[in-house]
């Protein structure tokens, strides 16, 4: 059983006009096996929260803590956080020139587990995971994300999730830009990962659509850089019906 705690997190970014505060005291606790949905209007800071947990250098933590089983995540480099078991499925995965998917996956797996995976089983695992996500075998030899469609990029993120087996996954709008079939495929991938390794999930989304496939235990409403309300799955339905006006005006 692991626990990821975000406590009173304040984060700012550097702009031409000086530091701009985006997160204003976020509190969030996720345990192994729990699924948390974070919903909130555009620009409320959801991606900022995701990136801050992963350690993107653009975001400056000015106050608060992030703890993984009591360990100070903020003192870890980006790659150390990943090796500690944190995974971020990005909203906009970047293209990496010159690095094939197969080489990338193998290198990442080796980095995470600390030793090269046994070749035969690894190839089989990759093929199976790709099949499950309906990713064509030809993608192995393509460069990471290069020329991938939006939906292909998202499936490639979930492929990594399934192969790298983190303790906690933050999914930043993994459901955006997917048609119904792709949404189902991606959701199944997340559910498989969840079931296989008691994964804790922080699922950032605008829509309840994905929550029909991945049932959240908790829903957090994110507004203006902090959690404005928390509840169970029923909160998501209310948000879809009523929108965020109530919180934004408040």
């Amino acid at each position: 059983m692991s626990i990821l705690q975000v406590k009173n997190l304040h984060v700012s970014v550097d702009t031409d006009q000086g530091a701009k505060e985006i997160l204003r005291g976020v509190d969030l606790t996720i345990r192994s096996g729990e699924i948390h949905a974070v919903m909130g209007p555009n620009g409320s800071g959801k991606s900022t929260l995701a990136y801050s947990i992963a350690g993107h250098p653009k975001y400056n933590v000015t106050d608060g803590e992030i703890l993984l089983d009591g360990e100070n995540v903020l003192e870890m480099s980006v790659d150390e956080r990943a090796r500690a078991g944190l995974f971020l499925a990005m909203q906009y995965p970047v293209e990496i020139p010159g690095v094939s998917v197969s080489n990338f996956l193998r290198t990442a797996k080796t980095a995470i587990t600390g030793e090269a995976p046994a070749l035969r089983t690894w190839i089989k695992d990759v093929r199976e995971a790709m099949d499950n996500l309906r990713i064509d075998a030809a993608f192995s030899e393509r460069n990471v994300n290069e020329g991938f469609s939006g939906g292909e990029k998202k499936r490639h993120e979930i492929l990594q999730l399934e192969l790298l087996k983190p303790r906690f996954a933050i999914l930043d709008e993994t459901d955006s830009g997917l048609d119904v079939d792709a949404l189902k495929i991606v959701s199944e991938g997340v559910s498989r990962a969840h079931a296989a390794s008691d994964l804790g999930v922080l699922l950032i989304t605008h829509y309840t659509r994905i929550l029909r496939y991945i049932k959240p235990d908790f829903v957090h409403v994110f507004v203006a850089g902090k959690v404005a309300e928390e509840g169970g799955p029923e909160l998501a339905d209310r948000l879809e019906a009523e929108g965020y006006d109530r919180y934004v005006k408040a």
Binding site: A82, I96, G98, V99, T107
Partner: protein
């Protein structure tokens, strides 16, 4: 020409009639005096300054001979002949002043003859090991006989300032896997014109690998003289602080139904690392059924680097199979690094992964195991310095 563009790739395909540069009309002469003194105003020399040539543009140069050693299987002969004798000059004549200086100042030419029908996996090696910064000349002539199939590595190392002409004759039905490796010590300057002529159904794989030297400029020129031939011009380079690595491949489709593929990839690391790639392809009126594609990609690993990349296609016939080019210079930036790191990969490993993935692909095309291994190790060493 491209300013460093953010990871993007621009690709174009051309139908007939996109005139760009009249490469075919360039004057040719063995006399230095026929070419004006070099200035940066001349298109041919615009990317470097004259000092970088370290005297290679002078009328009088010293001459290499002891600096050159060679080996090869039975059926390959090596002989120094007078440069006034045949077949010297039959494959290509100088198109610029440094090439002319190299030509007139090399009184002797190393003639490498590969016997007709010799098929050998044993590598032919010509090793040029410079021992001073005296501006010098060298001329090599390689004759690959009919139906032969061989591999030749021309390697340059040591301290050298060299104006070099290499002529490569690939006879009808012959196959030649040719590598020119530039691994000079710092302080070196090397300008090499490498002329190749391909007979009917001949195949040439020509690879330029440039890593060491203050200035390395290679101009491979491949001309088809019979139908059905194929050329691959490949190149790989890694420029570090202060280095200038230039490549000017040119494919002259002067015969019908020939195929050419030009693939050059480079990485740049460190202040004032500069690379230049000018890729010319000329499809003459007679060259119906031509199939050509040229590509140059550069990876900018640090700030302060510069990659110039200019593809030129000159098409004089509409009856072609295909003609296209792509050129892109991309940055390895913080977002790439973040993505890889977010998957547990350390920053050093991330850079290694990106650069090796990018460049080793070209080296692998040579199929020469020893070379692939040593150049991969060399690249890793350079990356560790970055």
């Amino acid at each position: 020409m491209s300013a460093p563009v953010q990871h993007g790739l621009s690709e174009h395909s051309h139908g007939a009639g996109v005139p760009l540069q009249i490469r075919s009309d360039r004057p040719r002469s063995t006399s230095v005096a026929d070419f004006p003194a070099i200035t940066q105003q001349q298109d041919l020399w615009r990317y470097l300054n004259v000092d970088q040539l370290k005297g290679l543009d002078s009328e009088v140069l010293a001459e290499y001979s002891e600096q050159v050693s060679f080996s090869g299987p039975d059926g390959v002969s090596f002989e120094w002949i007078l440069s006034s004798a045949a077949p010297v000059g039959s494959i290509g004549l100088p198109e610029d002043r440094v090439s002319a200086a190299g030509y007139t100042n090399a009184s002797k030419t190393l003639l490498v003859k590969i016997a007709d029908e010799l098929v050998s996996a044993e590598q032919i090696t010509i090793s040029v090991k410079g021992d001073s910064a005296t501006a010098s000349a060298l001329h090599i002539f390689v004759e690959a006989g009919k139906f032969s199939s061989t591999t030749l590595v021309l390697e340059h190392s040591g301290l050298g300032v060299l104006a070099e002409n290499v002529e490569i004759s690939v006879a009808d039905e012959a196959k030649l896997n040719f590598v020119s490796l530039q691994n000079w010590e710092s302080g070196s300057a090397h300008v090499s014109a490498q002329f190749a002529k391909l007979g009917r159904n001949a195949f040439l794989k020509h690879t330029v690998a440039s890593f060491g030297g203050d200035l390395v400029r290679v101009t491979p020129i491949a001309t088809f003289s019979g139908p059905g031939a194929e050329v691959e011009l490949n190149g790989v380079y890694f420029a570090e602080a202060g280095q200038h690595l230039e490549n000017r491949p040119f494919v002259d489709h002067a015969a019908p139904n020939c195929k050419s593929r030009v693939t050059y990839k480079g990485a740049l690391q460190g202040d004032k690392a500069h690379t230049v790639w000018i890729g010319d392809v000329l499809i003459r009126a007679i060259a119906e059924g031509t199939d050509t594609y040229e590509l140059n990609r550069n990876l900018l690993l640090t700030d302060g680097t510069r990659a110039d990349s200019v593809p030129n296609l000159e098409i004089e016939t509409g009856e072609i199979e295909g003609a296209g080019h792509a050129s892109a210079s991309g940055r390895f930036d913080d977002e790439h690094l973040f993505y890889l790191q977010a998957r547990g990969i350390t920053p050093d490993e991330a850079r290694r992964l990106v650069v090796l993935g990018f460049l080793v692909e070209v080296i692998q095309k040579t199929g020469i195991a020893e070379l692939i291994e040593s150049l991969t190790a060399l690249l890793e060493e350079k990356l560790n310095r970055g």
